[in-house]
Symmetry: C2
């Protein structure tokens, strides 16, 4: 490892610590879209851009954006970056790692006066998490020309509309829907994995092949509440034992194929007394897979088996699909380029799908896109315990740098 | 069926309706131990006793008690009755049926001036449900000489001690622990089944063989919360899927033997979000069986399998036995006597265990004891929907009457 105190990886880690002070809540990191903390963070990002001679701007949706010209002014741009909003009580790396790594890449080029065949654009999206308003990914949606004007009327928990919040931030709400990045040849995002795969395989980085599509269900089972002592087993219509059978069926189906995952994250039981047979159980299912057809087959199988189990156990089933999002297959050229870059810096190039959603899946609607993951401790994210090592940060940054230097725009 | 408007069964049903007006809550039946509604109900019971020439009294614990002499004054007594306290938002029959049926039996004898070889004592226990204070079955415990003086210091939700409540009710708290019924040859309780067995078999009444013993557990499972999209199935420590496997194991073990029941009535999942793998699951187990050895074998098996499942799934298990109560085997002579009585009135005599606890299991410590069940609609109890038919009430009453007339005290 590079022990130089001023190595780009170490400097990046120090900046991530410094950047984490921009928070809407004392004592923990919470940085909501268009909040005071977001404004301070955006201004700091702009200031850091200026330090290296870059004229950064804040677009109509609150994204910070800057361009480092290539050898020829007006060349197509490779865009790199991520988001700088956070969940409540967040870690320091989700989003911020990619946004500040993009800045570090350009800093490295600028320091040496190095110009590439392409321009490099960097971005710090203002909203990915969707914590403040009901919608998510506002920043990349706006940049990709996919912002729905109706979103302006959404309100936060204090009754402030997105329109008002944009105005207070100094943005022009009516211009958001007409934003669209121009002449962007590709988008690449560095991000923490938010899962345990790289750690389990002892790998510092991974190349994302696809961002999983997702289907969510809400299921309600209605059986018959009864006295736990007075009702023989064969006369029961127990909503919870039915749910338990369904949960194990869902788990078994997800285990039957690589890259498919399914989770029952919520389960509530009524009436919920120690001596009463559950009359009702409500639970959620979240299913994800990198290929839509794979996910759809699993959804169909689970739908059928839910019905069969409910019938066999004589409980009523109400099952509603509440959310459906297609997978984004990362651009094969970007995947190949990232793989080659990781191998050139002497690291194993593990390909893996992303279970979580990212700005990349939106930017993929605008241009070829891809992602590079950095291992995070225990796979923990959305939590102050979120952690990466300096060494992994160094490797992630080096791989991104290598990719940027080697990138050729399609002709 | 007896269509006479004044038939004992019809009169009993009418009285149960009338009695249900004594409630601590407007619009629903809630009659807590030593409450105003309890006082009114007890006074009404005393008044009805007086109407048939019986000198009823209220004992130191709030039980209403009266004696109908036999041919010889001072003869051993057969005691019949049940409790007149209720759960919150109760039905009209749990407890009250047996208490008012006892009164109806004596009324029937008194009306005809009929004297038996034995005396008949009737009782309306003041607390069986244990809703107001932490302990249950205060009335029968006191009568059986099993009241623990320390119970007097228990407080209700308003901070009123049982001692104060007894004093306010007009009772003598210090005398409760020295109460004990004298010269009681046997105790028999008529009660609704509170389960679905008789209805499923289309039978109006059943004879209880045993009151099930019970073991309760609280289990906590600690796995690892994680991102529902980003954590592959093989790297999960899902507390809920572990709980689901345990729930089905418990169900299968209970189904493997007659008369054994097991219920997981409560289950809570943390953090309980649609897109987060459950890191913690907490649930209760309630196990009951008419034979202690049978229950103990099942408890041991389940204990072992809980540990095995937790180990195989790499989740931490904390399992605590929170409650343990031995079974009460009903007195064989009483069971035989009730069976013969039911057959004499021309009905099938179904023997079955009681899954719920009853005053009979306490009175069984004082004297031979047994129970007669009346079918209830859907097995529903502890609920305003609690319901029995006039016909079944008639049959239950007739069987009890027949038993009382045929009862011979052991010599």
């Amino acid at each position: 490892m590079n022990d130089d105190i001023a190595s780009p990886g170490r400097k990046l880690m120090a900046r991530l610590d410094e950047f984490a002070r921009f928070s809407d809540e004392e004592g923990r990191l919470t940085r909501l879209y268009l909040s005071n903390a977001h404004r301070q963070a955006a201004q700091q990002y702009v200031a850091w851009c200026r330090e290296i001679g870059l004229a950064a701007g804040i677009d109509a949706s609150g994204n910070v954006w800057a361009r480092y010209e290539g050898k020829q002014p007006g060349a197509p741009a490779l865009m790199i970056g991520s988001h700088i909003d956070t969940v409540r009580d967040a870690g320091k790396y989700d989003g911020n790692l990619g946004a500040l790594a993009a800045l570090a890449v350009v800093e490295e080029l600028a320091k040496k006066g190095e110009r590439l065949d392409i321009a490099v654009e960097i971005v710090a999206f203002g909203d990915e998490e969707g914590v403040r308003f009901p919608t998510t990914l506002t920043g990349s949606r706006a940049f990709a020309g996919l912002f729905a004007r109706s979103s302006l009327d959404q309100k936060d928990a204090d009754g402030i509309s997105m329109r008002e919040a944009l105005t207070n931030f100094g943005c022009e709400p009516e211009a958001v829907a007409t934003l669209r990045g121009r002449n962007v040849a590709a988008f690449v995002e560095l991000h923490i994995e938010q899962g345990p795969v790289l750690e389990a395989e002892n790998l510092p980085v991974g190349i994302v092949t696809a961002i999983n599509g997702a289907t969510r269900f809400h299921c309600t089972l209605r059986g018959l509440a009864g006295h736990a002592g007075a009702t023989p087993m064969n006369l029961r219509q127990d909503a919870l034992t039915a749910a338990a059978e369904m949960i194990l069926m869902i788990e078994a189906r997800a285990r039957s194929e690589n890259d498919l995952v399914a989770t029952v994250g919520r389960l509530e039981v009524e009436p919920g007394a120690v001596n009463v047979i559950p009359g009702e159980a409500r639970f959620t299912i979240d299913m994800r897979a990198p290929r839509d057809a794979q996910r759809q087959r699993a959804v169909n199988d689970i739908d059928k088996q839910l019905i069969a189990i409910a019938k066999a156990r004589n409980v009523e089933l109400i099952s509603v699909h509440t959310h459906e999002a297609g997978a984004y297959i990362c651009d094969p050229r970007i995947v190949a380029g990232l793989k080659a870059a990781v191998e050139r810096i002497g690291k194993p190039a593990r390909l893996l799908p992303s279970g979580a959603g990212h700005d990349t899946m939106i930017m993929g609607q605008l241009c070829p896109a891809g992602m590079l993951f950095v291992r995070c401790k225990g796979g923990v994210s959305h939590n102050p315990l979120e952690s990466i090592t300096v060494e992994d940060c160094e490797i992630g940054f080096a791989a991104l740098m290598e990719f940027v230097r080697g990138f050729k725009a399609a002709t």
